[in-house]
Every structure is written in structure tokens, then in C-alpha cells.
């Protein structure tokens, strides 16, 4: 009986460690994905043709974190906040017919990847190691 209890405890401990490792891995993947998307956005904004299209939309400035002139260093805050700023700036171009076609022709798959990142963060939640399978209305961290 005692042996069985010890075995179950060991199994539970192992499960918890594996879950934690999985959560760490997911968190790392999220940060890498956001980092790659931000680098891609910087490249796109540095493109002269895209710059002209952006200017035609009446945009006079870009977020500092998407500018190549500014040596933006990843800040102390979580990258999901960087993503929100970038998403708010970039998403109108994904849904605008002219810029969307240009983006798809020049950087195929980029718009899809951006949308996918957004959906995955919303689905998984922005906080690390968030507990799954519970009421999402109140999120205890």
C-alpha cells in the first residue's frame, strides 16, 4: 500500500516536472516567434516601396521598436507587449487590399504567420505557465 502511494507520488512529481518543462518550451517558442516576426517587420518597413505605401496611408511615424534607425533593445517587459504594439501598427496593412497583395507577393506567408502568432497567444494566454482547463474569466497567476 505504501509502495503504491510512493509510486503514485513519484509519477505525479514526474508529471509536474514534464508539464513545467513543456510550459518553459512553449514560452521560449513564443518569444522566439515574436522576435522573428518583429525582425521581419523591421525589414519590411525598411523596404522603400513599402515605405512609400505606408506614407500614402498618411502614416508619418513608426513605432520605435520597429525602426532600424533606433537600436531598440528588447526591454524588460514581456515580448507579448511588443507584439501588441507591432500588431496594432501592422494589422491594418494585412487587411488593406493593396498592401496585403504587396506583402504576400514580396514576403509570402508573412501575413499568415503574423495572424497565427496572434491567434496562438490569445489561445494559450499571454502569461507564462498559465493553468489550463479552468475558467478563463478569472486568471490567477
Amino acid at each position: 500500500m505504501v509502495d503504491l502511494r510512493d509510486t503514485r507520488r513519484a509519477e505525479a512529481r514526474k508529471r509536474r516536472v514534464l508539464e513545467r518543462l513543456g510550459a518553459d518550451q512553449r514560452e521560449l517558442n513564443k518569444h522566439l516567434r515574436i522576435g522573428r516576426a518583429l525582425d521581419q517587420m523591421r525589414l519590411i518597413l525598411a523596404d522603400e516601396t513599402f515605405g512609400n505605401l505606408v506614407h500614402n496611408h498618411g502614416i508619418q511615424s513608426v513605432p520605435g521598436l520597429l525602426s532600424q534607425e533606433n537600436s531598440f533593445v528588447a526591454g524588460a517587459l514581456d515580448r507579448s507587449l511588443d507584439f501588441i504594439v507591432a500588431w496594432r501598427f501592422f494589422s491594418p496593412f494585412i487587411y488593406d487590399p493593396v498592401t496585403a497583395v504587396f506583402l504576400e507577393t514580396r514576403w509570402p506567408g508573412f501575413a499568415l504567420e503574423l495572424r497565427d502568432i496572434f491567434i496562438s497567444i490569445v489561445a494559450d494566454g499571454p502569461f507564462p505557465h498559465e493553468l489550463r482547463g479552468r475558467d478563463r474569466r478569472t486568471i490567477g497567476i
Binding site: 515605405g51 512609400n52 505606408v54 506614407h55 502614416i59 508619418q60 511615424s61 513608426v62 513605432p63 520605435g64 521598436l65 525602426s67 534607425e69 533606433n70 526591454g75 524588460a76 517587459l77 514581456d78 507579448s80 507587449l81 511588443d82 507584439f83 501588441i84 504594439v85 496594432r88 501598427f89 497567444i121 490569445v122 494566454g125 499571454p126 502569461f127 507564462p128 505557465h129 478563463r136 474569466r137 478569472t138 486568471i139 490567477g140 497567476i141
Partner: protein, 225 residues
């Protein structure tokens, strides 16, 4: 089985009058109070002091403690509201803090090349014409577990919620939580406890400078034709 009772057979430890007073007091305490009784006691305390607070309720000798009110009404604040008392000092202090933060955000974002639109009716900031930001003051709950709660219920869901954390009523700001509210379901409430605060560390800052840096803008050159 019956006993023989002889009043005054032994020398009394306390006087008969005092004993009677104590008996009445114990009987009074043992009586189950109705919700109306509890609210009447609270109203009487309010009338006497001209103000109400948890500390005042706890200090009053003839009134059940704040925990008893919390058990019956959900929280002591709810009981205060039921008798029509609103803690205006607290509301005023939080409003002042929020105004000061908003003023600072407007100044600092403008300094970093951005611009901020403010709407006086829902207190939402629109930064650079793109991002909706709300500022929220969060106080450590006076009863129950040591948690701070952040959330915002409004028709217009903010993209980012800045939760300024104060340790006690009318106290200074301890730190800020900059939360990606856009990525959470509408009407979410985030709770941060002292023991598990590490998990929110990447969203916490002692100043709002990282947030201002996020909102910084760089002007772009027009087309060369």
C-alpha cells in the same frame, strides 16, 4: 433529579447587578442577528463618527467584526454600500492618482515622438491613434488572501491595462503591472498574489519608463519623388 437552590449561600465573587449585566450581554451576543440588525448597527456607527472604515468597525465594541459582515454580505464594502455609504476619500485619492499617471503618460509619450488622445467620459487613452490604454489603481485586499486584482469592465476593451499597485489605502504607488489585455478574454480579472508574483515579473515595473519606450515613435521620411 431536582436540586435545592439557596441564593446568597456563598459569598459572591461579583455583585448580583454586575452578574445580571454580564448575563444580558452574553444573551445579546448569542442572539442571531438579522441582516437588518447588522446594517442598523453599521448605520449607528456611521452616525456617531460621521465616517466608516474597516478599522472603525473592528474597534467598535458593540458591533460584530468586519469578517462577520464579509460572511453575511460578501465584503464589508458591500455592507457599506447597502447603507448608502461610499468611501469618497478613497475614491478621490484613487482618482487623483489615476489623473497624475495619465498626465505623466501624455507628457512622456509626447516627449518620445508619440501622441495621446484622452476621452474624459471613459478615461481611456488612445496612444498614437492605434492603441487603447486604461489605467487602473489596485489596492491590496484588506480581508482574505493577500492578493491584488486587476481588471477592467468597459464596453471598449483596452489593448493594454496599466495597473498601478498601492500597498494600502491612500498609500504611494509601489509598482505597475503592464498587462496585455487585448490578448485576454473580455471582462477578465487578473489576480496577483505575493507568493506567485514572480510569474508576472515580466509584466511588472517599478516605473512606467518601459511602457513609454514601447509607445515611442520615429518619424518616417516621405517618398523621394
Amino acid at each position: 433529579m431536582s436540586g435545592i437552590r439557596g441564593v446568597g449561600a456563598y459569598e459572591a465573587i461579583v455583585s448580583g447587578e454586575r452578574f445580571e449585566q454580564a448575563r444580558k450581554r452574553l444573551a445579546d451576543l448569542a442572539r442571531a442577528r438579522t441582516e437588518n440588525d447588522l446594517l442598523d448597527l453599521l448605520t449607528a456607527l456611521w452616525c456617531r463618527h460621521g465616517h466608516l472604515s474597516t478599522a472603525l468597525v473592528e474597534a467598535a465594541p458593540h458591533i460584530p467584526g468586519a469578517v462577520a459582515y464579509a460572511r453575511r454580505f460578501g465584503s464589508i464594502a458591500k455592507a457599506f454600500r447597502l447603507i448608502g455609504f461610499r468611501n469618497r476619500e478613497n475614491i478621490g485619492n484613487n482618482a487623483d492618482l489615476r489623473k497624475a499617471i495619465i498626465k505623466d503618460v501624455v507628457e512622456q509619450v509626447t516627449k518620445r515622438g508619440g501622441y495621446v488622445e484622452t476621452s474624459p467620459w471613459n478615461k481611456q487613452l488612445i496612444i498614437n491613434g492605434e492603441m487603447k490604454v486604461n489605467v487602473f489603481i489596485s489596492r491590496l485586499k484588506s480581508t482574505g488572501p493577500r492578493i491584488w486584482q486587476f481588471g477592467y469592465v468597459s464596453k471598449s476593451k483596452p489593448d493594454i491595462l496599466i495597473g498601478a499597485r498601492i500597498a494600502e489605502r491612500a498609500g504611494p504607488i509601489v509598482d505597475y503591472f503592464i498587462l496585455p489585455f487585448m490578448l485576454l478574454p473580455h471582462g477578465s480579472w487578473v489576480t496577483a498574489s505575493v507568493s506567485s508574483g514572480v510569474r508576472l515579473e515580466r509584466f511588472r515595473s517599478t516605473t512606467l519608463v518601459p511602457f513609454y519606450d514601447l509607445c515611442a515613435r520615429i518619424p518616417v521620411a516621405g517618398p523621394k519623388w
